[in-house]
């Protein structure tokens, strides 16, 4: 097992810069998820760590060895592809044993490792089948098995669940999490789905347009997003953003006016002046229907979605902003009616004109 460290890594294809100044440290045994919208460079970053792409600048180290010049085969990594990439002309057994061909392993050892991996992934009965005879979920497990057999220092996953249907996705997600617990291996996982990121990761790396926006544990990113992008990316449904203005600034206390309401927050000293425009963020699930201390947001209901376990109320505020409120359980609210959502100050996020959070309390 090994640490992975990236320092100053950049990647360009001709004139187009895909990644810039990536600095990252993955500790041995961590489950790190690269997450971000399409085109943010997460897959490219993974392929760079694998050695399938070269870097335009910077250094990559795996297990304290510089690997920039090493081909994938020498980096002690294994990769699971979105399309599974199973060899169609080989049986499941041969697919899983393929990698060991190049590491000079004797037949008995190969057999042992393949069967062991098959056991873990419940593939023991399928070893003689060809990939086209398997279901999507089974193929995915063979792909994972192929990686396990090689006993790598780092496992790389490239959106492995994207091609599975919803139910299978949940099951396989649990299996991957269990695999991580059992093997204790370093795993780097790429996905565009923030639910996968939140549930699997011990550390999430949020990428946007080739830059790292924020790195942290899932709940850390949830509670203390450092900028607008991360705040809007993590959490579903998306955080509500409302334009506001600084009314008063006094040392570390600030009063923010937004959508006809006012709230007091604690801000980083010197980050705001009265009159500065800000963006206020509140998660739908943090809005309350009642609350003495909370700032009230009044508006009309445009739509209501009832899911049974919760309801989503779509409001248009008097100020013109659109807001989603998540209410627990069922609700009597109906479209056309009026509604007031209360916003407790402790749940407020405030971002300055550059989209950077002004709240002091992130670790």
């Amino acid at each position: 097992m090994a640490d992975v460290s990236l320092q100053g890594v950049g990647k360009s294809f001709g004139a187009v810069e895909i990644l810039r100044d990536i600095n990252l440290f993955v500790r041995d045994g961590e489950f790190v998820v690269f997450v971000g919208p399409s085109g943010c460079g997460k897959s490219t970053l993974l392929r760079i760590i694998a050695g399938l792409e070269t870097v335009s600048g910077g250094e990559i180290r795996i297990g304290d060895r510089r690997v920039n010049e090493l081909p994938p085969a020498d980096r002690k990594i294994a990769m699971v592809f979105q399309s599974y990439a199973l060899y169609p002309h080989m049986t499941v057994y041969k697919n899983m044993a393929f990698g060991l061909k190049f590491v000079k392993t004797n037949k008995a050892e190969v057999d042992r490792r393949v069967r062991q991996a098959a056991e873990i992934l419940k593939l023991s009965g399928l070893l003689d089948r060809k990939p086209r005879e398997l279901s999507g979920g089974q193929r995915q497990r063979v792909a994972i098995g192929r990686a396990i057999v090689r006993n790598p220092s780092v496992f790389l996953f490239d959106e492995p669940l994207s091609n599975l249907d919803a139910a299978l996705r949940v099951n396989t997600r649990l299996e991957i999490a269990k695999l991580h617990r059992d093997l204790g291996a370093t795993m780097i996982y790429v996905t565009h789905d923030q639910v996968e990121a939140m549930t699997l990761a011990s550390k999430i790396v949020v990428l946007n347009q080739g830059r790292i926006e924020q790195v942290g544990a899932p709940l850390e990113l949830y509670r203390y997003p450092r900028n607008l992008f991360v705040a809007g990316f993590i959490g579903s449904p998306r955080m509500n953003f409302i334009k506001g203005q600084v009314l008063k600034m006094d040392g570390v206390s600030a009063t923010i006016g937004f959508a006809g309401a006012k709230a007091d927050i604690e801000a980083i000293p010197g980050s705001l002046k009265p009159g500065d425009p800000v963006t206020v963020g509140i998660r739908p699930e943090h809005m309350e229907e009642t609350g003495a201390e909370a700032a009230p947001l009044r508006g009309a209901i445009e739509a209501v979605e009832q899911l049974g376990e919760s309801s989503y109320v779509y409001m248009k505020l008097a100020s013109g902003d659109d807001v989603i409120v998540r209410a627990p359980g069922e609700t009597d609210a109906a479209p056309g009616g009026s509604y007031t959502a209360h916003v407790p100050s402790r749940a407020l996020h405030v971002f300055d004109a550059f989209g950077v959070s002004v709240l002091p309390n992130h670790p």
Binding site: A50, G51, L52, P71, P72, A73, I77, A78, M79, F81, Q82, S83, A85, L86, Y87, P88, H89, F98, G99, K101, F102, V103, R132, R146, R150
Partner: protein, 320 residues
């Protein structure tokens, strides 16, 4: 009630009518089937029929069953040339299989390397000889290999292989090989293109997975790409077979109908031509010509059948 019948009558009018004879289908098919049958199938069948007859000087024909074939295969006046042509054709085919398809495979592999600069230019240029007439190619090489002109020997001398040169086209021992290589040189483009297309079809993910698994470039080719293009290699092989056993143009252009020296470049196509039309001292015989053609047909059919049932069954075409 009336509504139902009205709507069902309407839906019947929409679909192409089945109850009346579908005239339009016949109209669409007729011209193709007519020309094809008249000028492709009928002549073949008629040739086979003709091979069962023998003619004499008066032009009268009589049914002789398989006697023509017996003559062809065993009569010393005929069988020598027939078996010679057949053997030469086999050599011709073998050289194509090994050299033409080997080089084609190699070129296809090089051209399918990722991010190859100028790939399409190479492909276009290397494919050029295939576009030209066999006759033209034959003459070009005749000129180049001509000792009088001296291009070939001087080029070889420049590389230090000057001693190798000889009047290859004129020597019995080397003529067939030379002509075969000329043909290979011209037609390499075809297996190159077909195999190239098949290689492109292999998803990049698969090659990446093999690389990550530890395979070097050669191993990726041997264990992943080659097995996956086997069906295409099968198609290339049978196409080569049919083309080679049907070949005529090049030999005729370079060596004439006599396919010298001393029939060393004679293949079934030239043998057929001579038998049918006659040449110099030999009188043409339509019936014997038909027999030769039928024999060629049988040989080609055997090859095709072996391919369809022996080879194609085994080779799985993988969809991605």
């Amino acid at each position: 009630m009336t509504d139902l019948t009205a709507s069902s009558a309407q839906s019947m009018a929409v679909a192409p009518s089945r109850s009346r004879f579908p005239v339009h289908i016949a109209v669409f098919l007729a011209p193709a089937l007519a020309i094809y049958t008249l000028f492709s199938i009928y002549p073949l069948v008629d040739t086979i029929r003709l091979s069962l007859y023998a003619g004499d000087e008066t032009g009268a024909r009589s049914f002789v069953g398989l006697q023509n074939f017996q003559t062809l295969l065993t009569d010393p006046n005929w069988s020598g040339h027939f078996w010679n042509a057949f053997r030469n054709n086999l050599i011709f085919f073998s050289i194509h299989m090994v050299v033409q398809n080997g080089i084609g495979l190699g070129l296809a592999m090089l051209l399918s390397l990722p991010r190859l600069a100028g790939g399409s230019i190479y492909r276009t240029l290397i494919f050029l000889p295939t576009m030209l007439s066999v006759v033209v190619i034959g003459f070009i090489w005749q000129l180049i290999l001509n000792p009088l002109w001296g291009i070939a020997p001087s080029l070889l001398k420049a590389v230090g292989l000057g001693s190798l040169f000889g009047p290859w086209l004129g020597q019995e021992s080397t003529a067939l090989l030379t002509v075969s290589l000329i043909s290979v040189w011209q037609f390499v483009g075809i297996p190159m293109m077909l195999i190239y297309a098949a290689l492109l079809n292999i998803p990049d993910d698969l090659l990446d997975a093999a690389t990550v698994d530890g395979a070097g470039p050669f191993s990726v080719f041997w264990f992943v790409r080659l097995p996956l293009i086997l069906p295409t290699l099968g198609v290339v092989s049978i196409l080569t077979f049919v083309a080679n056993f049907n070949a005529f143009d090049l030999i005729y252009a370079v060596k004439g109908a006599l396919a010298g020296p001393n029939f060393s470049t004679d293949i079934l196509g030239t043998f057929f031509y001579r038998t049918f039309f006659g040449f110099q001292l030999q009188v043409g015989s339509p019936t014997m010509g038909a027999a030769v053609a039928t024999a060629m047909l049988v040989i080609i059919l055997i090859g095709v059948l072996i391919y369809l049932f022996g080879v194609q069954r085994r080779l799985q075409r993988h969809t991605f």
